[in-house]
């Protein structure tokens, strides 16, 4: 990340330029592949629509993401503290990830209607898993010598969790949270596809039906931008929460 913002910007601009040139020179039908310039024009002319619907998707996504992270953390800690629960629940947690989310989403609409809830639940279903797995792994990876030291000092299991296991697991947990953030964009859009009256996923369906390919591409661009910003926001929060990582050459 420290390499700076320029390399990705230059690469992106080069790809866009090549795309634009290809569409113009080869006279590609803009219904199939619109040039970036017309996508950009569409984006600017319909900024209000994108802002409104983007905000809708963002709120579904954030509610689902926060719920998923909390559930994932809770399950991870519970599985670490209670071996029996871990053995019993782990295969079932894996099973939840094997069910295609696109198959579950309509059922959720059936249960919760055309509200925010089915989208948030879809997002949460995708988010909790990487967080739960990284929490279990992280909590289990504490240096056993450190645990022995704390026992020799008479620390209770809860204090050991608070003082050693959890902080030492945080870098791994954050990796899981970053994966969850990337997945949550997909979750929100899938949730909207199967039943919604607004949001970026809804917008995509509308543009597709009307044959407005520029609009479709513009929506994808907004979604992508939103996902990237959210992803790096998580990285920024991690940086704030874990200032010591800058100095730690080895994990304990």
């Amino acid at each position: 990340m420290r390499a700076g913002i320029w390399p990705p910007v230059i690469l992106g601009a080069a790809i866009l330029a090549a795309w634009e040139a290809y569409v113009r020179l080869a006279h590609i039908d803009s219904l199939l592949l619109p040039p970036p310039s017309s996508v950009a024009r569409f984006l600017v002319e319909n900024a209000g629509i994108f802002a409104r619907n983007g905000l809708n998707t963002l709120s579904e996504l954030l509610v689902g993401f926060v719920a998923g992270v909390i559930v994932g953390l809770g399950l991870g800690i519970l599985m670490q503290l209670w071996r029996w629960f871990r053995a019993a629940a782990y295969p079932w947690l894996v099973a939840t990830q094997m069910v295609p989310i696109a198959a579950v989403a309509p059922i959720l609409v059936l249960w919760f209607g055309f509200t925010l809830t089915p989208k948030a639940v879809t997002v949460a279903l995708m988010c909790f898993f990487p967080v739960a797995v990284s929490t279990v792994d992280g909590l289990g990876a504490v240096n056993p010598e450190l645990l022995r030291l704390l026992h020799s000092l008479g620390a209770s299991p809860w204090r050991v969790m608070k003082m050693a296991s959890f902080p030492s697991a945080l870098p791994r947990i954050f990796s899981g949270v970053r994966v969850a953030m990337a997945l949550s964009v997909v979750g929100a859009v899938v949730g909207e596809w199967v039943g919604s009256t607004h949001g970026l996923g809804y917008l995509m369906l509308q543009y597709e039906n009307r044959g407005e390919t520029s609009g479709l591409f513009a929506t994808v661009a907004v979604l992508t931008a939103m996902g990237i910003i959210l992803f790096f926001l998580v990285g920024w929060v991690e940086h704030l929460v874990l200032p010591w990582r800058r100095y730690a050459k080895e994990t304990l």
């Binding site: 010598e145 450190l146 030291l149 000092l153 008479g154 010591w244 100095y247 730690a248």
Partner: protein, 257 residues
């Protein structure tokens, strides 16, 4: 004149554990008295059961046979009664120097802010002044060991066990840390049980040196080190008395091997 009550009394302690299908006798029939306020060192080759012995002494493990008591400190379970500084510094990279030094106190139930305040008061004496808010990743090896030592000593235990605390340091840092530890001990007069495989270090620091044999670990030689204090490294290691003691230890080691 009656002998003073020892800080720790170890009688006929044995510990055997299973390693897969075979049984390993790590410690066998070991007896030691650790007098109060003395600097006692256990020397031995690697894998002689030193770590097993330390685990028993600080109550993390129980002997199969024999007793370990702390007569000067009353009855009751050993766990939490003996200060223990393990070989690895085990500093938490997410806590700053003060926070790491305060870990022991916090485990004893001192509020974090008060524990930090107590730790801060000792920073200068431990050569950590100005580094209160540094993270372990920013410290040198010697400084990390001093933080770990402060964490141990702050708990105010009557007995402190130090397991090869200077083992990973370079020779110069090691010499200055030894001198520093002797100074500190002479000011504070806690009981120290020191473990090392370095005979020079053992003789330079200690009042009593116990030599352990390879597995099964037993005490095969106990030496009173009656070199005058305060000791200066250069003077001590070149003295005739020091070298006579060293010869006895080496002789015994050669016989055991």
């Amino acid at each position: 004149m009656t002998a003073a009550v020892p800080a720790m009394r170890v009688r006929d302690v044995s510990r055997t554990y299973r390693d897969g299908s075979r049984t390993v006798t790590a410690v066998q029939g070991t007896s030691i008295d650790i007098p109060e306020g003395k600097f006692v060192t256990i020397v031995g080759p690697s894998a002689c059961g030193k770590s097993t012995l330390l685990n028993l002494f600080c109550g993390l493990d129980r002997p199969d046979a024999g007793t370990i008591e702390t007569p000067a400190d009353g009855e009751g379970p050993l766990l939490g009664r003996v200060g223990y500084m393990p070989q690895q510094d085990l500093l938490m990279p997410w806590r700053d120097v003060t926070g790491n030094a305060a870990v022991g106190l916090e485990c004893l139930g001192v509020a974090p802010a008060a524990a930090r305040a107590q730790a801060t008061a000792h920073m200068a004496r431990f050569g950590l002044g100005g580094f209160e808010h540094s993270y372990p990743g920013q410290l040198s090896g010697g400084m990390k060991q001093r933080v770990a030592m402060l964490r141990t000593f702050l708990c105010g235990r009557k007995i402190n066990m130090l397991d090869e605390p200077f083992g990973k340091l370079d020779a110069l840092t090691r010499a200055s840390m030894q001198a520093w530890l002797l100074d500190y001990w002479q000011e504070n007069r806690c009981t120290i049980l020191f473990v090392t495989h370095d005979i020079d270090e053992a003789l330079f620091l200690s009042d009593v040196v116990h030599l352990m044999s390879p597995r099964p670990g037993r005490i095969v030689l106990s030496l009173e080190v009656d070199l005058p204090r305060p000791r200066r490294y250069d003077d001590v290691v070149t003295s005739v008395a020091f070298n006579a003691l060293k010869a006895r230890l080496l002789d015994q080691l050669g016989r055991a091997a």
